[in-house]
């Protein structure tokens, strides 16, 4: 009973994975997708799902697919998202985030880590108008607060 329930759960994820893969450049048959999704879920599901896969599809995965597959492009608010996955004998061995471009045409790296940057490289907005100031000393000495007040009075 439990084996069947687990296999059904794996099948639910297969339908999502299957659709995704078919939109990409490589179409993978459903039985192979089942094995892949089983690899990514919990170990208990693997054996059951593998057994279900062996008994279900007529053309079982005789020659396991290997290679690099590119996923479809997904639009997000930060720009487009695309990854590629490397598969070796039904096992995912690597997932690569591809370089993306955001709407401004600037290159957006998947890694959002803060890295060393020169002062000359930091963003300085084109517009000459600055309406607000922010800084660590804003609340500790009156300088920035007074500066903000001056900007407000100037109607900048």
């Amino acid at each position: 009973m439990r084996a069947r329930a687990v296999a059904l759960a794996a099948l639910a994820s297969v339908s999502i994975v299957g659709i995704g893969w078919q939109l990409g450049s490589q179409a993978i048959d459903a039985s192979h997708s089942l094995a892949l999704s089983a690899v990514r879920t919990d170990p208990a599901a693997v054996a059951d799902a593998a057994a279900a896969a062996a008994t279900s599809a007529a053309s079982a995965t005789a020659a396991a697919q290997s290679g690099t597959f590119t996923g479809s492009v997904v639009a997000t608010r930060f720009g487009n998202m695309q990854v590629s996955v490397t598969i070796d004998a039904s096992t995912i061995t690597d997932i690569t985030a591809l370089q993306l471009t955001n709407h401004d045409g600037r290159s957006v790296q998947i890694s959002n880590r803060a890295a060393p940057i020169l002062r000359s490289e930091v963003l300085a907005a084109q517009s000459a108008s600055v309406q607000n100031v922010s800084g660590a000393t804003y609340t500790t000495d009156g300088y920035l607060q007074s500066l903000q007040s001056a900007l407000d009075s100037a109607g900048f």
Partner: protein
């Protein structure tokens, strides 16, 4: 909260009349006044002060206070305990979330009143909506200036439409700006925390080592997130900086103790 709040209206909303600015200012002042009355630790009779002293048990406190506490606890979980609503001596301290929540509520009140273009700056925490203005090629003559000094000009030509811009000031040289950042959707909020030699001190999670960061500015979609993460990164150091930039959709500009800068890719000048 002990700090002045700066409110700007964008030109589009300011055209509704000078009274629009006055009533907007009143709206913001009312919201901050309420938060201050309930949560300021500088006021002996605020509800939070009474809870901190033990005069009221947390379980007997108002829904508003307990909701605030819940928000802070949630952030404690999300920052692996680096951000916490308790001081080292165990006393409750909600200052890490109160300012952000007050700003957020003030902003929501302005939006509810039909104002879509504004900026709020409370203690260096900035939240914006809409745009400051359309940019014009030429100004009309001085006699069309409004009494407050704002000029309303007819557009000779509309060039690009600017965003609200915030200048991040150098903590080592307050006359110097290290970044001027347009607060573009979705990162419409920025908060800056620091570890000053004198003045306010953030307890660090670094085994009583001082923070490697003299100042941290976080750009986020909402002001509470920006505020909490700026505090957490100062307190937690490099490990927290990397965890938070991995997990949250934020931009961060950090100033190290020796003056060097760290920045996420979104704060890099485009070529």
């Amino acid at each position: 909260m002990g700090t002045m709040v700066s409110l700007r209206l964008g030109a589009a909303d300011f055209e509704h009349g000078a009274s629009a600015l006055a009533s907007a200012a009143q709206t913001v002042a009312t919201v901050f006044g309420r938060w201050d009355e309930q949560f300021s630790l500088y006021r002996k009779d605020s509800e939070l002060s009474r809870v901190a002293r033990g005069d009221i048990r947390l379980t007997d406190a108002s829904d508003g206070l307990r909701d605030c506490y819940a928000v802070a606890l949630n952030w404690r979980d999300r920052t692996q305990g680096v951000f916490t609503p308790h001081r080292a001596d165990g006393v409750i301290d909600l200052s890490g979330v109160v300012k952000g929540l007050a700003i957020a509520e003030a902003g929501a009140a302005l939006s509810t009143n039909g104002l879509a273009n504004w900026s709020i700056n409370a203690g260096g925490d900035v939240l914006v909506s809409g745009r400051p203005s359309d940019r014009f090629e030429a100004w009309e003559s001085a006699d069309s200036a409004m009494p407050t000094g704002h000029r309303v000009a007819a557009p000779a030509a509309v060039t690009d439409i600017p965003e609200w811009v915030v200048a991040i000031v150098d903590p080592f040289d307050r006359g110097d700006v290290i970044a001027s950042v347009p607060l573009r959707h979705p990162l419409r909020a920025v908060a800056t925390s620091g570890s000053a030699e004198r003045g306010e001190h953030i307890w660090t999670a670094l085994n009583s080592e001082p923070s490697p960061f003299r100042q941290v500015s976080v750009f986020a979609a909402d002001i509470v997130t920006a505020d909490v993460l700026a505090t957490a990164i100062v307190a937690g150091g490099e490990a927290t900086l990397n965890e938070m930039t991995d997990r949250f959709a934020i931009d961060v500009l950090a100033v190290l103790r020796d003056g060097q800068l760290l920045a996420t890719p979104g704060l890099r000048r485009s070529e």
